[in-house]
Symmetry: D2
Subunit: 136 residues, 4 copies
């Protein structure tokens, strides 16, 4: 299991008239967490696409426990349990500065060939990169 | 079970570099469906708030089956099975113009007092409005 | 001068914690106005792209006079003074239901070849379509 | 003249089907620049609001020169020439990692009483804070 953390500051545009972060904004926060999780391995999702693969979202699930407010510095914790072979799952938790768990969720991605739209195995070199760093 | 439908046209800002609607955009589409579902009863979520109640999102779940593209005219089908008493569930399905089911999901809302943050029963007059139209 | 109008309903996700529509949301509303302006000629921006042209934004200017609120039904008035030859300007005004002018602005687009990134003349067939309807 | 810089990483949700950052997304980037400009003085816009003042946007202007791409690390340069007394102007420039100027613009804010909606002078303590750091 690999855990990575990144921070995001809530801006005005992320909030809604209830005075808190709009529930739909969290999909973006989750994405930022995944981007930085991948970057921690020395690769980016841009590299994945350059390798001829896309990872469209198959399922998104978020449970909201407490609100986040404007200017909060949030911690996005990204938790990956399985290697991105074909279909894989990424868990995300978001905390505020006082350590409260604000929401948690899971996203399912499917490694896909953008030309055919069919599932495709992640190339070995990418797997190796992720495996290697798994052991450190 | 009450079903209501509304339409939305995909704009450029809803898409991402994969050439399709960004997965996070659907939370907004689902919300638009709920707004119009409520309007079909002659009330709006603004009325709910004026009655001293908010309906924050407790859980969001979306399964993505096929992509939506720029300029697609989508049909948002909102399916409500239980009256909004305390905790209630709203199902949503989105279709494109050829009738393909693009995604389906469910959102859980909790009727809440915005001052205390505690769950609170939906007032009777609001329930009656929703009941009345249920029978038509 | 061609004027077209379309309507948009403000959703929760469009607002911010000041209780009004976030100023950045209006770029999206302006875009929706342009999309419907083009559709009124029987073409869509998708057709423009299929003809091998893109219209990236060169300049955006918005003056905000009054706020828009959740659930307001806004009228987007799109005003086009020059044919989309190379560089062209589209004015937009947004009104609420009581007829108040909420904001006005202008966007400048440049007809561009997406491969070279260079300005390119809009093809004659597209110009003709826009001219034809100008006279009706 | 006070200049502050902050960084932002472009996420997928910021892009559109042209493969670049959606032009409307920049309003959000500009806002993040202003937030961090203010934070560099030891205050936040949350403090401004707690002091009974809001700074709604009166005018927004952006000129787009070059596109930003997914995963680009952008530098947001915020340039403030006048103290936020009543009506004040904030310039913003955005650069990519190779130092290209991608866009520049200006936003005009009006110090406002949220109850009356009337312009109101920024309180002296806030001015002093901004003045003090101006000299360092």
């Amino acid at each position: 299991m690999i855990i990575r953390e990144t921070k995001i500051r809530v801006c005005y545009g992320d909030t809604d008239k209830m005075g808190v972060v709009y529930h739909g904004t969290y999909a973006r926060y989750f994405e930022i967490g995944r981007n930085e999780w991948l970057r921690s391995f020395g690769i980016t999702y841009r590299n994945v696409e350059e390798a001829g693969i896309v990872w469209p979202v198959r399922n998104l699930q978020i449970t909201y426990l407490k609100p986040a407010y404007y200017d909060d510095l949030l911690t996005i914790r990204t938790i990956v349990q399985d290697l991105p072979l074909l279909r894989f799952h990424i868990k995300t938790e978001i905390y505020n500065e006082t350590g409260d768990l604000l929401c948690h969720g899971e996203i399912t991605l499917i490694s896909t060939n953008p030309q055919t739209g069919k599932p495709v195995k992640t190339p070995q070199w990418l797997i190796e990169k992720l495996k290697f760093l798994d052991q450190t």
